[in-house]
Symmetry: C2
């Protein structure tokens, strides 16, 4: 007889609670938050064919499912505490589960957090993770704190930039051809994002607002601008890009940089003159940061191109329904 | 153009934060827990065709999706604080969303909690809710606290008992015929469970262990017995049942009472001699409770029938994979 729901949870997901008061195996998990801290909570659902390709290796999927949630904590400047997982899968596939849980636990260990609640069920492959973190009361990084005159910054890999995940997707869709080495590199960026948790923590008290880049720079910037009731002007030349992306044609570069999605970098604002503090935070976190523009009182998102002219662009992100094509 | 993901969240799910520091619309929600309290967290995923029938009215589905999660908080004795929702649906269906969110918000208002984070996406209908509550440090009701000699109790409606949700399911499957009135009554029990949050709170300091009945009495009792390393003897005649269930044949009654599932009542233990305190908690919570047996040092679950003989029964609950039939 194949293992049932409870055996699966035990076998692949339950590990002894270390930090939690009570982990998997009861009706609820129990966590003791630090006095004086506020809780930050975020949930994301990942669906096969929409958020990930069926070709993604299961360990990378486990990594990414947790990474995109940790990225939300990073954007708030919160320290991760624990997470829960609800997993639907068509049938018990132990090869999948073994690899998936490996990727999940490895990233969790990196951030010293643990899985405190699990729910597995039969159904179309869907992964729902909820992360809980804590941040000093009143000091969370929010989307509504950007002020005219602030500088706009973005994090990125020391040897890379934005848009590589989108470049990988374009390659998988056969819209661009990459060398084997290049494809492997951008595929890794797409499948194994590094949530910028350490940077988020270091930016508490430095940044005035922050968001994580999940739906593309233009769209995510739009959320900050709308919530903060300001506008922004970006310098196209300042957008950090990998050497591989820099080799592509201008239209593809622009697509990947501005509308890429799946970057999981932090877009944040800081008062002009706080450059040194921002750069110090980045050094502490071991990540690169680039100043890509400034916040304006005038609404709208503008990009200054090579010709020095500013063009308005739509601050729209990836829409999971609109992207579905006709019928919705 | 149909509304997109962000418009949907705004229209149906976002409401101004009242208790939360920061509600829907940022990377994370922010909650300020009460000093000295521990956090209780639980996640559940509901999949169409597995956890609910496609015929369920959307407002009842909204109610139930939150109710089953609140029931987990109840079983820990926790006070609900907030919840997040991740929702996948095949296409934007505003009729569904309007009714679904109505059912959700109505139950949330009843418990004075709010939706603090939302994620909507296209995909097969799936609902993932995570609830967060708080409970006095070190006083949460757990599954591992039952001791030999404790009495075993179960909550139930003042005019009902266990198993009516399963009776409704059997009627929907045409395995039993109920009168129109009777069908409406048990259908309501199945579709609109009342999470026993007030009872859970009142049992803190009274009950030695607790679990909520989601997979059937025998299976859920089994979890408590396993975690507490004890056994139990139930009195079949003491199992509370509605007048409608009492009219059914013995085999069906036993199926519904012991292996029903979807009861969302609390099964809990309390020291013998604490009857008055248990009954007082039930009165405060406005719910009925019945003493249905006792905890034994000897492992296993036994049921004493009408003939006075004790039979061992398998302490197995509903398994979402095993129930899928062949292929897994």
């Amino acid at each position: 007889m194949p293992p049932g729901e409870f055996e699966l949870i035990d076998k692949y997901f339950a590990r002894p609670a270390r930090r939690a008061v009570l982990g998997i195996g009861d009706d609820c998990a129990l966590i003791a938050p630090t006095s004086g801290m506020q809780l930050a909570i975020s949930s994301d659902m990942l669906i096969e064919g929409r958020h990930f390709l069926s070709t993604v290796p299961p360990d990378a999927l486990g990594h990414k499912a947790l990474a995109v949630n940790l990225s939300d904590l990073a954007a708030c400047g919160a320290r991760p505490l624990a997470y829960t997982l609800a997993l639907a899968m068509p049938a018990v596939d132990e090869t999948f589960l073994a690899a998936f849980s490996l990727g999940l636990h490895a990233l969790a260990d990196e951030h010293d957090i643990e899985l405190v609640g699990g729910d597995t069920t039969a159904g179309p492959l869907a992964i729902c993770i909820t992360v809980v973190g804590e941040v000093e009361a009143g000091r969370a990084l929010r989307r509504d704190g950007a002020r005219a005159g602030d500088e706009l910054w973005v994090s990125h890999p020391v040897d890379g930039g934005l848009g590589d995940a989108r470049l990988a997707l374009e390659a998988f869709r056969d819209r661009v051809r990459l060398s084997g080495d290049g494809l492997a590199r951008v595929r890794r960026v797409m499948e194994r994002p590094n949530p910028r948790v350490a940077l988020g923590r270091a930016l508490v008290g430095v940044a005035t607002s922050a968001i994580d880049l999940s739906d593309g720079l233009a769209g995510d910037a739009g959320h900050v601008l709308a919530r903060s009731r300001v506008g922004a002007t970006l310098q196209a030349a300042a957008l950090p890009r990998s050497s591989l992306l820099a080799e592509q044609d201008t239209a593809l570069q622009q697509l990947c940089l501005l509308h890429g999605g799946d970057d999981y970098e932090l877009l944040f604002t800081a008062p002009a003159g706080r450059d040194a503090a921002v750069r110090q935070a980045a050094v502490e976190a071991g990540v690169a940061v680039s100043c890509i523009g400034r916040i304006d009182a005038r609404p709208g998102l503008r990009v200054v191109g090579a010709d020095g002219a500013a063009r308005e662009i739509a601050a729209r992100g990836f829409d999971h329904f609109a992207a579905q094509g006709s019928g919705v």
